[in-house]
Amino acid sequence: MKASLHHARYVITENPVTLFAFGLLVLIVLVALLGPWIAPYDPLTTNTVRKLEPPSRAHWFGTDQLGRDMLSRVLVATRLDLIIAIGAVGLSFLVGTAAGACAGFFGGWTDRIVSRLSDAIMAFPLFVLAMAIVAALGNSIGNVILATAIINLPFYARMARAEVNVRRESGYVEAARLSGNSAGRALAFHVVPNAMPPMMVQVSLNLGWAMLNAAGLSFIGLGIRPPTPEWGILVAEGASFILSGEWWIALFPGLALMVAVFCFNLLGDGLRDIIDPRRRT
């Protein structure tokens, strides 16, 4: 464990791009945690006197059509977007990995059921399915997280199933069982931990994608509703002003979204290089 941490630190420092992504991640998390406190204005307070002002010293990101400070809105929205992404990916990771691991380990009916469910989800274009789920269950943050988690399930289930299948017959599993561990324990404490590293790569890449998904949903008005600040909603609100040239309302939240997703993707690529340098693209 210590050796792999040491190795990870070595590779992170070796590769400046990954280091940069890591630093960016820390920054994003800090903004998410401290958002309301570091925002210069209250994101919800309207001030129609100063509406539609371009970026200035007083308002770094300008103001929107209701006079709200864009910088504050973008900063505060970080927390919500991050929560949704982490929540969705966390949920689908836990459930998907558990389901996939059981399917790979026990085979038979477990395998068949998990595979059929996965296939049913993957029969849909994923964003369309997310739309349908949120439309059916109602607009709430929880449903957005649930929908995003559901469409991500098959990736984790498949990956876990494959990794577990590969390791199922390996020596240390036999050893664990021989020394008295039940099948479940062998699975949980021996097989799954070894399958972790490649799945971590998937998690990082998925975080970016989950964020895009959630923002897309709120852009079209599903899930999170205004005036809650969320990057997708902010871009949607700014969309109508692009045609009249007020670019800053949509640009800054869009950029924030891009940067966050980019950061997760870089991190995922960097992790992939650590885990398996052969698969470097």
């Binding site: 274009p125 964003f127 399915l129 349908a132 923002a215 045609l243 869009g254 997703v261």
Partner: protein, 341 residues
Amino acid sequence: MRGSLFRLVGKRFAAALPALVAVVVVTFLLMRAMPGDPAAYFAGLSATKEAIEEIRKKLGLDRSLPEQFVFYIRDLARGDLGQSVTTGQPVTTEIATRLPASLELTLFALVLALAVALPLGVLAATRPGSWVDHLSRVLTTTGVSLPTFFTGLLLIYVFYYLLGWAPAPLGRLDSVWSPPARATGFYVIDSLLAGDPALAWACAKQLVLPAITMALFVMAPIARMTRASMLGALGSDFIRTARASGLTRATVLYRYAFRNAMLPVVTTLGMVFSFMLGANVLVEKVFAWPGIGSFALDALVASDYAPVQGFVLTMASIYVLLNLTIDILYGLIDPRVRIEA
């Protein structure tokens, strides 16, 4: 070859059926899972109590769930997707009218993405370390980070507002023109068929920005996969044999390496289509494109649920068909899949 081809199509078709079943069942369950009274949703917000009861009987919502499912299947088999409350038209008619718009956009975007990403990937593989290689790498890393709706807005701002090169993003055709006679539903093709190249050009101009927006996101995985599989193919044993036989560089590259490299790329197309059919909705909203995505969105806002259900069913069915096509295409290229060895 022909016998194995029929067998391949048959097998793939059979494999696609469960997906179709899953789509129908899941959509049914989702629409019934709505909180509140589904009949009220389908009847519309301003419906009277009698209207709601009528809808309830018509959709069989007063029956048990299995019976409802039978009604649902029966309606689907008849092509009855219900009625749109906001437009008063049958959903099937609305979708049939608007589907070509979405398809034209998606097809154009796909062709564009392939036209850029495939050569980029091939060049990046054959000229490692060159500027093409670096460009491809930049595209691959940043492309997947771009939120599609944001990209669309950016493109509109730069190319319409600032530069004035692109037309106003107000739909398929500027209001000064009238759409061509409907043959395929694809405006560009129909204009050409009607012998009106000026109209075709006007329609094409409207297509450019939305198509680029949709294409940008998928260029990245296509280019990445093309480059990776070309590199793999070029380094393989059979390429060495081909070169040792004196085959020209062009033959080796295209007839031998490229065809082999396309196999993983074809598989990637599945993911590409999944994205594109979803991104349709976002792009149609940004560019006011009158396809089935914006139709569903308008209905959603008005709590008009039959169109939403129809939209989900349509998109998912198209996706199943596209995946089937990809599977068959793969079998055409790779004989190992076609022939039981």
